[in-house]
């Protein structure tokens, strides 16, 4: 059954997903693509000579080899010196350039935090920080896993924080953030990127977008866990628990109205993110709910175990509860359902196809 046709008979005959047509969600299993970001950045840089890309000794890894090779005058490799990287970006932005800064998310946020705070966020400069390998998608262990980057960037006034779900959104994010005045942090999956959305899909910042409506529980998801949430919603609906899914690409500023709508319409809300539960989507949602005095209980799916290991992403996602079954279980218990939650069937996909673990 797919989200698009939405018509396959629910396994238990109780409920079906209510896909939102405007979201243009493609059928599962999704195709993947590579370098959607680099391609979009080259396009932007070609049209806007004021755009300049900075790297920090991770050029191919951040898809900026495309800019380096095609528009060498709009690319500068700052080397492995992330504090200086952010200072140089600030200087370029003060001189009127629109600066895209690239490295792994962990090195874009932890090492140069004070420089980002003082030289980019505070003066509200046009610097777009692009951090690759979010959360546990890095096999490099705790030193390489950006599990707190959203928390760090959300702590900075003036910073827009975006974590997109697929290649279609990646491409649109580049143009949107370039147009948006001021500093942004964009969190990107490295390597193969799934294509969840079709051509009619429109990313907006900071608006959240409903993918499925009418559920008993709403799953609010960001980044890599959007695909996971979609799959979880299918599993849950098949098991008789209708679920709404809200795609929340912008973590700061959070779409307060959408969060409150989710709380109003649901018996419980579940957040799902490839990030520590503290400081990311789950916390942003908690803040909105608590200030509104909403009594809707919240379950947060995210990393709760501190520091992980150096292992493959699928292994880590399962081990740390970022998989489809973890979202299913959270929604199941949040909805007050008894008994064991349903489990997702393991879907083997060919290469070039994406299935969340």
């Amino acid at each position: 059954m797919t989200a698009r046709d939405g018509a396959a008979p629910p396994a238990h005959g109780v409920s079906a997903l209510h896909p939102v047509a405007a979201a243009d969600l493609l059928p599962f299993p999704w195709a993947t693509t590579t370098k959607p970001y680099g391609t979009a950045l080259v396009e932007l840089a070609r049209a806007r000579p004021d755009v300049i890309a900075l790297g920090a000794d991770l050029t191919r890894q951040t898809e900026t080899d495309l800019v380096r090779d095609e528009l060498p005058r709009q690319f500068v490799n700052v080397g492995m010196a992330e504090q200086n990287l952010m200072g140089v970006a600030s200087g370029l932005a003060r001189a009127g350039r629109c600066v895209f800064v690239h490295t792994f998310g962990v090195f874009a946020t932890r090492r140069p935090f004070e420089q980002v705070a003082m030289q980019i966020a505070y003066p509200r400069l046009d610097v777009k920080i692009v951090g690759f390998m979010p959360g546990l998608s890095s096999p490099g262990g705790p030193s390489h896993q950006a599990v707190d980057d959203v928390a760090l960037m959300r702590a900075l006034p003036n910073m827009t924080v975006v974590d997109v779900a697929d290649a279609t959104e990646v491409r649109q994010a580049v143009a949107l953030l370039a147009e948006r005045e001021g500093p942004c942090y964009l969190r990107l999956k490295r390597g193969e990127v799934p294509v969840l959305f079709g051509a009619a899909h429109r990313l907006a910042v900071p608006a959240a977008q409903w993918l499925f409506e009418g559920g008993e529980v709403t799953v609010l998801a960001s980044g890599m866990l959007v695909a996971t949430a979609v799959r979880a919603a299918q599993v849950l609906s098949d098991a008789g628990l209708p679920v709404s899914v809200l795609n929340v690409p912008t973590l700061e500023p959070i779409d307060r109205d959408a969060v409150l709508a989710a709380a109003r319409r649901s018996a419980a809300v579940v957040t799902a993110e490839n990030h520590a539960v503290a400081g990311g989507l789950g916390t942003a949602v908690a803040e909105v709910l608590a200030e509104a005095g909403a009594g809707t209980p919240l379950r947060r799916v995210g990393i709760r175990d501190g520091y992980a290991q150096a292992s493959s992403a699928p292994w880590l996602f399962r081990r740390h509860g970022l998989d489809v079954n973890a979202v299913v279980a959270a929604a199941w218990s949040a909805a007050g359902r008894r008994g064991d939650p349903p489990t997702a069937a393991d879907v083997p996909v060919e290469t070039g196809r994406y299935a969340p673990v």
Partner: protein, 329 residues
């Protein structure tokens, strides 16, 4: 569209948006409309500086001079302004003004093409010398100095994004050289002949970022970038040498690929000579200004906390005598 046109457009847009406002553009629920930050929206000029707000702007830039006597007299007046500013609270960054007076006199009156060249003031607490020198350069109204450090004043005791007449300002030390390198890189990419100066303090050489920036600037051959370090041998806990051995400083900069000028920082002629346009070999240059704490305020004597001077009874009067104007301005 040409690059220059686009840069122009974006700079205009930035002006309109008041982009360097320090206020908060957070989510609706956290913004207090018209809150405390509403007045913090200075526009940014095209050279990256923030103009002095109405009411405290000076009469206009005075013609530059390279006359050593006039520059020395300017330094003397900078010290005098600083004494008066620090007298307001009875304590403050007087030591920094005494060590950097000549360097700022030369920079603001002889070298910097105001509105063209760029200046980054890396150690934000040195902004006291900037205010005094800006008055001397005709850019700031002398009367504004009376508001130094006063609550809500434009003349904050450590520079911020509101500080008039500088571009980047940094109170978290060790960050300025990187920003200067970015500015210089922008100019190099645009083939602009403008120069970028970064003023730094010797304590900043303990921050690793200074060396990251040094390596970067040399590798990218930012020959129009000049760093000036006030080597006053002082930091918060006392003499630098007792805290960290930063010497041999000149060797360090040379080994990082820079052209080094080591000068007596109280000799305006020597500072001026060192600031001549850099040689064409593409190396950035650094001026190590060797200075002495409370130089020019001899009657205040030694032995007090040099980083943050507290003025005792009679100190202000004695310091003002030390800096009595000596000739016609």
């Amino acid at each position: 569209m040409q690059t220059s046109q686009i840069l122009q457009t974006r700079a205009d847009r930035a002006d309109r948006a008041g982009r360097t406002d320090g206020g908060n553009a957070r989510t609706a629920q956290t913004v207090r409309k018209g809150g405390p930050m509403a007045d913090q929206r200075p526009a940014v000029l095209r050279d990256g500086t923030r103009p002095a707000p109405a009411g405290i702007a000076g009469p206009g830039a005075r013609p530059p001079t390279t006359d050593p006597g006039e520059l020395a007299a300017t330094a003397r007046r900078i010290r005098r302004h600083a004494v008066e500013m620090v007298a307001i609270a009875g304590m403050g960054y007087l030591g920094q003004a005494t060590t950097s007076a000549e360097v700022f006199a030369v920079l603001y009156r002889a070298v910097l093409r105001h509105g063209v060249d760029r200046l980054v003031l890396s150690p934000g607490h040195y902004v006291i010398t900037h205010y005094a020198a800006a008055v001397e350069a005709g850019l700031l109204d002398e009367r504004a100095l009376a508001t130094y450090g006063v609550d809500g004043s434009w003349l904050e005791s450590i520079s911020t994004e509101r500080t008039p007449l500088v571009s980047a300002t940094c109170g978290a030390l060790g960050q300025g050289l990187s920003v200067g390198a970015g500015l210089a890189l922008a100019d190099a990419l645009a083939d602009a002949e403008r120069r970028t100066f970064v003023f730094g303090s010797d304590g900043e050489m303990e921050e690793g970022q200074t060396w990251e920036a040094a390596m970067f600037a040399a590798h990218h051959r930012l020959g129009r970038l000049t760093a000036l370090f006030d080597c006053n041998g002082s930091q918060v806990d006392g003499p630098v040498a007792t805290v960290t051995t930063i010497e041999p400083v000149a060797d360090k900069w040379r080994s990082f690929g820079w052209t080094v000028h080591e000068v007596d920082g109280h000799d305006v002629g020597a500072v001026l000579a060192a600031l001549h346009p850099p040689p064409g070999d593409g190396r950035p240059s650094v001026v190590l200004a060797r200075t002495r704490m409370l130089h020019g305020l001899g009657s205040l004597g030694d032995g007090r906390d040099a980083h943050f001077v507290t003025l005792g009874p009679g100190d202000v009067e004695r310091a003002l005598e030390d800096t009595e104007p000596v000739g016609p301005r």
